[in-house]
């Protein structure tokens, strides 16, 4: 089947029940999304599908036909990081970094839907994503900063 990831259409040869996460990491070498629990309970695998944040570890590829999937790789590059990535770098929000791609994609989904999201909106939206280092305060600050950057404030 065909999968649209970060604006590129890939031909994927896998069982329809295969979780999107495995296809991203093993098939397409897009390694931003992480395997955490495999049960949709930690959020490390979060990516976007048509603007919604989803757990890629429990999303079989069969439900994604024709949907636009986005991962951190689609937000920017090392040379040219996007607003969300710049905010996380500025705020030094990563400790071990394992949860960060999921945090970024869930924050991105919120801010695209609601550009004027408040800090409490951000906290509520990020609730499904866990960080075991306890970097939450910086992660929230980074998401607030990203909201500013996305609205065009330097």
């Amino acid at each position: 089947m065909k999968l649209d990831v970060n604006g590129r259409v890939h031909e994927v040869d896998a069982d329809p029940t295969t979780p999107l996460l495995y296809v991203l990491r093993d098939g397409l070498q897009l390694n931003a999304a992480k395997f955490g629990c495999g049960l949709g309970q930690c959020g490390a695998c979060t990516v976007m599908a048509d603007g919604d944040a989803i757990f890629s570890c429990i999303t079989p590829i069969s439900v994604l036909q024709g949907r636009r999937i986005r991962t951190v790789e689609g937000l920017g590059t090392v040379e040219k990081p996007g607003a969300m990535q710049r905010a996380f770098i500025e705020m030094q929000a990563a400790q071990c970094g394992y949860c960060i791609p999921g945090m970024m994609m869930r924050a991105q989904a919120l801010l695209e839907r609601k550009p004027d999201a408040s800090e409490s909106d951000i906290r509520a939206a990020l609730q499904p994503n866990l960080c075991r280092c306890g970097t939450h305060m910086r992660i929230v600050r980074a998401a607030v900063r990203a909201a500013d950057l996305l609205r065009g404030k330097a």
């Binding site: 629990c37 603007g51 429990i58 079989p60 590829i61 069969s62 439900v63």
Partner: protein, 313 residues
Amino acid sequence: MREGVDQEGRHLYPAFPYDHFTKVSDADIDALYAFIMTREPVRQENRRNSVPIPRAFVGVWKSRYFHPGEYQAEPGRSAQWNRGAYLVQGLGHCGACHTPRNKLGAERRDAAFAGGEVDDWHAPALNSASPSPVPWTVDTLQAYLRHGVADLHAVTAGPMQEVVHDLSQVADEDLRAIATYIASLDTRSDEQRARARGAALDRAAKAKAMHGNPIYDGSCADCHNRGRGEQGGALELPLGTVLSLPTPRNLALIIREGIVPPDGERGAWMPAFAGMLTDGQLTDLLIYLRALSGQPAWPDVAREVRHISRGDR
């Protein structure tokens, strides 16, 4: 509490469940009053009455549907059963959700605990029509009301989550009494109940070996095929009460919104699938899951899904 009137003697709207509280004993009403009067008073202007039904009509409604009077113990029953009946019919006001209402909003006395509606949720029948594939027992009901989880039945979701949270303060003896009374509402014979239990466990075992729905296999099976006994495991769905309800609404709400404990509370958890599944995919999944229950198909699942997801992008 007793008469459904305010300090000036005006009729109260029965949204305040005085039709149940009328059964509460004087001693308990006194205790409630004593507790409430120890709270710090606040100044709060009452909102203007915007109910489009005149109070005079409430008087007529009460003369037809309101049956004032304290709970009277049934002599043929145990003290524990009577305690349970008193709590369930009075302060617990379980029937406010679990009993169907007539067109004028009164609980139907001829269909007590036959299953009702609350917000968008269906409150399952607690009588012999209980949709739970494995019939409830006093023990499983007590555990469910205490912990919000029953391994062979359900996890609390929707409005019942709040109820179980509030029951966490209730003494074990009272919870046992409530469970005793509710279990007695199912009047099927032991043999009928044993047969239902056997059939349900059999169906669950067979369903586990089944494959063929890519959404179920890819999104649900990892947890739900393990059963509650195992780490990371969840309820085996053919046993789930939610699959056997007369409407797919509860199941659709749980799949879309997941099960999330109230803010700051511990509790059972299930991820939300709202963004992952389109309305069409959710509809297909609901139809597939319903078939696992061995019950006749739900009518017009697509319409129910549209109703639930209304207001979404």
